[in-house]
């Protein structure tokens, strides 16, 4: 089994902040915490290092060099860190982990659950939760070595609870001994006796309404829809259901959405009537009228669209955040969101 270990400049013994600008380096054998991994039964073949600032400021270059070494070495497992509570180091570990996983290399990292590196890893790596400081080094190394051993030998690591890693955000199917009906009856009897249990953790997203807009006459409005309204022929291939994208189309010079130019590709309702007049999906005609009458300040130059069919709440929340992050800098204060 070939093991590669990634460290920042500090843990690689190259210096503190003064050495944070160091470019990636390749070192034979274990260094620093890598010796601890050996002590825990995981011999390290190659250590790779990079200064935290270098990674932050030249991420593409750093990744390119580190990944080219990984391509050469073809490790069975990559260990990143532990980076504990360090944001820059954690981010580098998470980013490298994500890219290495894309190349099919299993990765174990270790950091605090709130480290930005957890997000950067995008569910790719098995991340052992640690405390914020090196005080938890020994425990972390033991957990890393165990996980890395199993991954390197292509053995199962079990659930997050069994394997001692943070849930990676994916839901894998498992066969259990009882059918759903029997599990439901047992869960209901337990709930009625005061012991609530669930197989799906809560994920609801409650957004409190923002304060009312005082003067619509000076307000810029945007039109957003989940009605699957797109230009005729769906040139950008908006999925008709289970959409993983949203799209933006210009409204400059457009007064009304004509059926000759727009249509709905939404798979969740009978679109025939709506397609006779796409303004009933995205009410452009009415909003232009309000604009002319001065009852709203103006209309944002684009409308935003997706098809809201079988859309998980997590995806919907992400679309909303992404669209809002375009609308807010553009000075949009209000949105008409048409649903179907």
């Amino acid at each position: 089994m070939i093991v590669v270990h990634y460290l920042n400049q500090f843990f690689a013994g190259q210096g503190g902040e003064d050495a944070a600008g160091l470019a990636p380096q390749r070192i034979g054998g274990p260094v620093g915490p890598g010796r601890g991994l050996e002590g825990a039964g995981l011999p390290v073949d190659v250590t790779l290092s990079c200064g935290d600032d270098f990674f932050g400021e030249h991420e593409a270059e750093a990744l390119e060099r580190l990944l080219s070494w990984l391509d050469e070495i073809e490790p069975d497992v990559l260990v990143c860190g532990p980076s504990f509570g360090s944001g820059r180091y954690g981010y580098a570990c998470g980013s490298l982990a994500r890219e290495a996983c894309r190349r099919g290399i299993p990765v174990v990292a270790a950091m605090t659950p709130d480290n930005p590196g957890v997000l950067a890893a995008a569910g790719a790596a098995y991340i052992v939760p640690t405390g914020p400081s090196v005080a938890s080094m020994k425990t972390a190394l033991r957990a890393i070595a165990g996980l890395a051993h199993r991954l390197g030998n292509a053995e199962s690591v079990g659930s997050p609870a069994e394997g001692g890693y943070l849930p990676r955000g994916s839901r894998r199917n498992v066969l259990v001994s009882q059918v759903g009906a029997d599990r439901a009856i047992a869960a209901l009897l337990a709930k009625l006796s005061g012991h609530v249990r669930t197989e799906v953790d809560s994920a609801f997203d409650r957004v409190s309404p923002p304060p009312a807009i005082g003067d619509l006459g000076s307000c810029t409005l945007a039109l957003v829809t989940e009605a699957g309204c797109v230009p005729q022929g769906n040139p950008d291939r908006l999925p008709t259901r289970h959409a993983n994208i949203w799209l933006r189309y210009p409204l400059g010079g457009v007064d009304s959405l004509s059926p000759a130019r727009y249509e709905s590709v939404h798979a969740g309702f009978d679109t025939r009537i709506a397609n006779l007049d796409p303004n009933r999906l995205v009410p452009l005609d009415a909003v232009r009228r309000l604009e002319r009458q001065g009852r709203i300040g103006g209309l944002h130059a684009f409308f935003y669209t997706t098809s809201g069919v079988d859309t998980p709440m997590a995806a919907a929340a992400k679309f909303g955040q992404e669209i809002a992050s375009e609308l807010i800098p553009a000075g949009v204060q209000a949105v008409i969101l048409t649903g179907t």
């Binding site: 659930s159 009897l189 669930t198």
Partner: protein
């Protein structure tokens, strides 16, 4: 019904099929079922003008076969004293289901197959794939790969309206199911169950009801109660024996993994377990049939509210809310959980998941049973034969679980769940 106004007691007599043999006449002998496939095809086809052809084939568990374009799965049943009332309303004459004796073949399924697109029925949305694999990695994903199967492939008559074709396909498959089971009449059964509920049980046991969600959105998306589409009903109490005995049949062919096939009602694991637990750990308070896929927030809230009220009328301390198909209907489930909890009735929901989780969730739904992630991919498999379509049927490709019939059924009949990893 008897003259004294009481139902005849229900008896479900099981005949466990060890092997199916093709022969010139149908007969049953000690686990061995002989069937004449030509007779089954001819009888299935009679008087159904919207069908050009009905082909009945026998497929064995372990055969290297993928069955594609599967519409429904049915358990072969026959009403012994009056076979013409089998699947009442939809196939047979109207009579109460769940009364009198029914003979059932276990270990044998009837799968209806129709390639709508090949027959010229085009829709803006392609019909989603629906597979049953008799071997390979997908075999254990459905309840059907381990049974003998009678595959009823229907070829529509060109130009026949889709509504007529669908009615004829459903009729043909139910006939095959009834006729196959008819071989057992007057033969000794392997087991007989009554599903009677003992009246005098410990009243301190918690009373549990099922809110069984169904939907009817028109042809190819219908559920039938005694032969009529359920669209527009208010929540209704059904006798659990009616559900087990063919009162509910399926005509909805959307996403295969979360499809409520007819067999799912006939074999309902929930009803069986609630009857088994009655008087032991619980009291079974009944089955409420309620709609999902309702169009408006008003309709959804109204149905949820009326379901909760019926649950209270049944004296339920707790309910299990099942879910029909995906997306829209999950909101109906969540609102029903919410409405029940508001009346002080504890609720557990059964739902399937997708890669990014659920499409709806309310705080009251704090106890959820997951029937698996239907976006997960099943390993590629190359069957020796594909039945039901002339296209590749994703042979040799990874297949998303949603394409496997009943794999994540949200009535709780399978043992799959999803866990964080």
């Amino acid at each position: 019904m008897r003259r004294d106004g009481r139902y005849e007691p229900f008896e479900l007599a099981s005949f466990e099929v060890a092997e199916v043999v093709e022969g010139s006449t149908a007969c049953w002998s000690d686990g061995s079922l002989t069937l004449c496939l030509r007779d089954l095809s001819e009888a299935a086809m009679q008087g159904l003008p919207a069908l050009q052809k009905v082909d009945v084939r026998l497929v064995r568990p372990g055969d290297s076969v993928r069955i594609a374009r599967v519409l429904d799965a049915i358990v072969p049943d026959v009403k012994v004293s009056r076979p013409d009332t089998t699947f009442p309303g939809v196939l047979g004459r109207l009579a109460f289901a769940g009364a009198g004796r029914t003979n059932r073949l276990t270990g044998l399924g009837v799968l209806s197959v129709c390639d709508w697109a090949a027959a010229g029925f085009n829709s803006s949305e392609p019909f989603p794939e629906a597979f049953v694999d008799m071997a390979g990695p997908g075999r254990s994903m459905t309840a059907w790969g381990d049974r003998w199967e009678l595959v009823v492939t229907c070829t529509p008559d060109s130009g026949a309206p889709v509504v007529d074709v669908d009615r004829c396909v459903r009729t043909a498959a139910l006939r095959v199911a009834r006729d196959a089971a008819s071989a057992t009449i007057n033969r000794p059964a392997s087991a007989i169950d009554s599903f009677e509920l003992e009246e005098h049980v410990d009243t301190s046991l918690p009373a549990l009801a099922v809110i069984l969600q169904v939907a009817s959105e028109g042809p190819l998306l219908d559920t039938f109660l005694y032969g009529g589409p359920v669209g527009g009903i208010v929540p209704t109490v059904l006798d659990h024996r009616e559900v087990l005995d063919g009162a509910l049949t399926n005509g909805a062919y959307d996403w295969a993994a979360v499809r409520n096939v007819t067999a799912g009602y006939q074999e309902s694991a929930l009803i069986r377990s609630l009857v088994a637990g009655h008087g032991m750990s619980l009291r079974f308070a009944g089955v409420i049939l309620a709609l999902g896929y309702l169009d408006t927030p008003f309709d959804k809230q109204r149905s949820a509210m009326l379901s909760a009220r019926l649950a209270r009328r049944l004296g339920a301390d707790g309910v299990i809310c099942t879910t029909f198909s995906s997306g829209n209907s999950h909101t109906d489930t969540m609102l029903t959980v919410q409405a029940c909890e508001k009346l002080g009735i504890g609720a557990v929901a059964i739902v399937a998941e997708m890669n990014d989780g659920l499409t709806d969730h309310v705080p009251e739904a704090d106890s959820i049973i997951s029937t698996g992630n239907h976006d997960e991919l099943i390993d590629p498999w190359m069957p020796e034969e594909i039945i039901g379509t002339s296209d590749s049927a994703m042979a040799g490709e990874p297949v998303p679980l949603w394409a496997y019939l009943g794999a994540c059924t949200q009535t709780g009949d399978m043992a799959l769940t999803a866990a964080s990893s």
